[in-house]
Amino acid sequence: MIDPWLPALVVLSSFLPGLVIFFLAEERIRLRTALNLIGAFAKIALIGVMLWGVLNDHEYVFRHTVLPGLDLVLKADALALLFVTLSAVLWLFTTLYAIGYLEGAPNRSRFFGFFSLCVTATVGVAMAGNLFTFFLFYELLTLATYPLVVHRGTEKALRAGHIYLAYTLGGGALLLIGTVWLYGVAGQVDFAPGGTLSTLTPDTAGQLQIIFLLLIAGLGVKAALVPLHGWLPMAMVAPAPVSALLHAVAVVKAGAFGIVRVVYEVYGIEFAQSLALLLPLAIAASITIIWGSLRALFQDDLKRRLAYSTVSQVAYIVLGVTLFGPLGTLGGLVHLVHQGIMKITLFFCAGNYAETLGIHKVSEMDGVGRRMPWTTLAFTLGAFGMIGVPPLAGFISKWYLGLGALEAGMPWVLAVLAASSLLNAAYFLPILHRAWFRPPSTAWPHESIPQRGRWETAPLLLLPPLATAAATLVVGLFAASDFSPLDWAKLIADREYLQWTP
């Protein structure tokens, strides 16, 4: 039977090309591109097969015993596939974008090698079937992203890399302690819908609360929960494709996704509620939402403004997790996908401005909409989505989060959502106003890609953001149809609540 091997193959489909690329000579551009694309398409094809299986209640599980009582488990369940599909599709777009972005830059083999390793790690995080496997890929993600953060080799990049490592390895250490402790208390437990810890004797409750704290603190570093978010704005020194895929999607999502797994499939949402663990987490998420938005307001550097926006937006996912009830779950899970699509669009556009015209700051963006209308259109869609304008992706997320808050009996969350939407508007609308309505300045800071016919920039830079911007519209408009992210999130939410009676 090939079934158990499918999850492993999904991981290998980027790992093996990555290893080969790592050792390719710099000038083997075609071979490198071919390997990247073959890997990306193979991954999407494999995921397609598994999506079909999981929809029909099939589970794909790969299990390898590392040590007695310690298994490496890769499992493709509904929740895993939500994240895997997102990363695989966005990886394809980002690879195309990166090929265009890095044309002629040095050390591309190293870049794409580590880039593939990052995606491998992300896919592993998504499909991890127990905490140990999760930890393994979580740490691999740290190691594989570090070379990308310091890719440029400048003093600034090295310093950012230093801080990045300090945060993420520290978080990893906390996660390890929590994991070992949990294995000691509960033995080896696989992730399972509804969680597995509720069967333990009540006298372990105190330990379980401390373990929860350790795990969430470890995961919160990558999810950039305030006050553990300091690395994210620093990491923006990395090249744009890295910021786009890794720091907007993969790394922060790995943290948020881990929180989802711990709450739903280790503790079980109902058990977590009974241990009184959800409210503190909801408060932490709310603080992060507001704090991130406030800080974003005062950033002139475009990528830093987007980074603080990420801090705030990822906390929506965590918030959704903590809202006890299927609707809140739905809002959090669907935002996992929606935020990814919207934020990657914004970062692609920021990369385009920087690469084409040398624009790095909001204050340099006057009139850029006339010079680069398509890029600015994509940026506008992403920004409106973030604010939550219907019928874009972000609106769907916020709608369900709001409903979930009411369902969970936490109406104060509505105020947080409203305040955050206002702040979103406050830091995105001025950018749009400048770009579309202010007269362009006489010269761009550093125009390096000239207008060529109808192409405002290189085609490989323009097409990916347009595609993802279209996606923010589509997933919002067709949220109610089959196979939309919302539909899939419903499937997961149905399976997580075992004894739910509204």
Binding site: H64, P147, V150, L158, G161, A173
Partner: protein
């Protein structure tokens, strides 16, 4: 099962033979002979491991005499694991050494003969069945190791060798005194005879003997605060020698401490003594890592890293002494796994460091710029070895740490958890200190040349083995269990 040829004696005779022949043949042909012979030793070690898994541990009487007149050799799971580690580390290092001495020929004439004697001593030590035979193999090992440190000549290496010689002689002196006291008390040096005789009511002389023997061995293992001799010796020797010493030689005395503690001296073991050894291990982890972080020379950094990693080995003693059985098993498995993982990873790391030094022409962490671009495979190997030392998964180092952490939790000794986690973070700090430099572009006026492929690939093979150990460690633990009372 076939009895011929029995791998046990050949694992000792073969390296003695090729060591002597290499002296006569010279470094060129001697090196080729050595590689072929070590490969054969690897096959023999595997064959022995297979036999042990099938039939359990066994004794071999040299020349058919048998103890007490003749010398007995004894192989159990623990010995087989160490034998496998020795040959697995020696083979890639031999390939590495041929390339290394082609690029930097100082000391190549004596490298092969001394390595042959070193391996013979190691293999003999692992299968020795009596205390006096262990003394002889320890001395042979020490003398071969000291000789290897000095082969390149030069003021710093010879000084380091001299210091190392005095340390190792002092250690074996203490050991021999302990053996004399035990012989005086029981009239035998055979481990099999002594083990049932030695009980918790043993006379004071025996307790003193145990203390002398263990102290002597700790000195040879360079456990804090006896680590003073190690960094100059390991950091000053040619890279293949540093790798052999750090990966294997200190493991030999650790192996003896472990075996004697668990078997012969088990009735004398107290919680206080175990906690003391563990505390020394913890101090070694923190102090060694800190000193590694402050080094400016690459090989000295790697050498101090050995001081720190030795500390992890000794954490097993408090975790395995007078605790519930499950925790003790887990601790011993973790300690042995750490010995194997560190052996592979440290050999890889010294080999990679040697390649970087050959490529840049100097031993200076600040001048590693350009290494990442010119020697990606070497840097990758260094990084993979670093992953093992940090204890990140999947790697042998992680498996070791996991087992030790589980043992710590099961026996309720959470303070060792804190030490291990802190040590992992400090390790990350000094490994990334090297990696981040190597990612930089080459500095003005510096030159990074390419190195022979064999240098890059042998280091990579070792690092990869350390990683794969983390995924396929279960058979090793199964082998380790052979001959150990469940």
């Amino acid at each position: 099962m076939t009895d011929f040829p029995d791998p046990l004696p050949w694992l000792i005779v073969l390296p003695l033979l090729w060591g002597t022949l290499a002296f006569l043949l010279g470094p060129g042909r001697g090196g080729r002979l050595a590689i072929a012979a070590i490969a054969l030793q690897g096959v023999l070690a595997l064959q022995l491991a297979g036999q042990l898994l099938d039939d359990g541990s066994r004794v071999y009487a040299v020349g058919g005499w048998g103890a007490p007149l003749g010398i007995d050799l004894m192989a159990d799971g623990l010995a087989a694991v160490m034998l496998l580690l020795t040959q697995a580390v020696a083979l890639p290092l031999a390939v590495f050494a041929r390339g290394y001495f082609a690029a930097s020929p100082k000391g190549r004439e004596l490298f092969w003969p001394l390595t042959g004697f070193l391996l013979a001593a190691l293999n003999a030590l692992f299968v020795s069945a009596d205390l006096f035979n262990i003394y002889v193999t320890l001395e042979l090992l020490g003398l071969a190791a000291v000789g290897l440190v000095a082969i390149a000549g030069g003021r710093q290496p010879v000084t380091a060798a001299m210091r190392y010689l005095f340390a190792t002689l002092l250690g074996s002196g203490a050991y021999l005194l302990g053996v004399a006291l035990i012989y005086g008390s029981y009239g035998s040096v055979s481990l099999a005879v002594l083990t049932p005789l030695l009980t918790s009511e043993a006379p004071l002389a025996v307790t003193l003997a145990a203390a002398l023997i263990l102290t002597g061995l700790l000195l040879k293992t360079a456990l804090f605060p006896f680590h003073f001799w190690l960094p100059p010796a390991h950091g000053g020797a040619p890279a293949p020698v540093s790798a052999l010493l750090s990966a294997l030689v200190i493991k030999a005395s650790f192996y003896l401490v472990l075996r004697l503690w668990l078997e012969l001296f088990a009735p004398l073991a107290t919680v206080a003594a175990a906690q003391l050894i563990g505390a020394l291990g913890a101090a070694a982890i923190l102090w060694g890592s800190w000193l590694a972080l402050t080094q400016t020379r690459l090989k000295m950094l790697v050498a101090y890293s050995t001081v720190a990693q030795v500390g992890y080995l000794f954490l097993l003693f408090p975790l395995a002494t007078l605790v519930p059985l499950g925790a003790a098993d887990s601790a011993v498995q973790g300690g042995v796994m750490q010995a194997v993982a560190h052996g592979l990873a440290k050999a890889a790391m010294f080999a990679a460091a040697g390649s970087m030094i050959v490529a840049t022409g100097r031993d200076d962490i600040g001048r590693l710029g350009g290494v990442g671009a010119r020697l990606p495979l070497t840097l990758f190997s260094f990084g993979l070895a670093g992953v093992t030392l940090m204890g990140l998964p999947p790697s042998g180092g992680f498996s070791a740490k996991w087992l030790l952490l589980m043992a710590a939790l099961e026996s309720g000794q959470w303070w060792w958890v804190a030490v291990m986690i802190a040590g992992g973070l400090l390790t990350a700090a000094y490994v990334f200190k090297v990696l981040r430099r190597a990612f930089l572009p080459v500095a003005e006026g510096d030159r990074v040349t390419r190195v022979p492929r064999t240098l890059e690939f042998s280091a990579f093979a070792l690092a990869l083995a350390a990683i794969l150990l983390g995924l396929f460690g279960a058979p090793l633990l199964e082998l380790l269990a052979v001959g150990r009372a469940a």
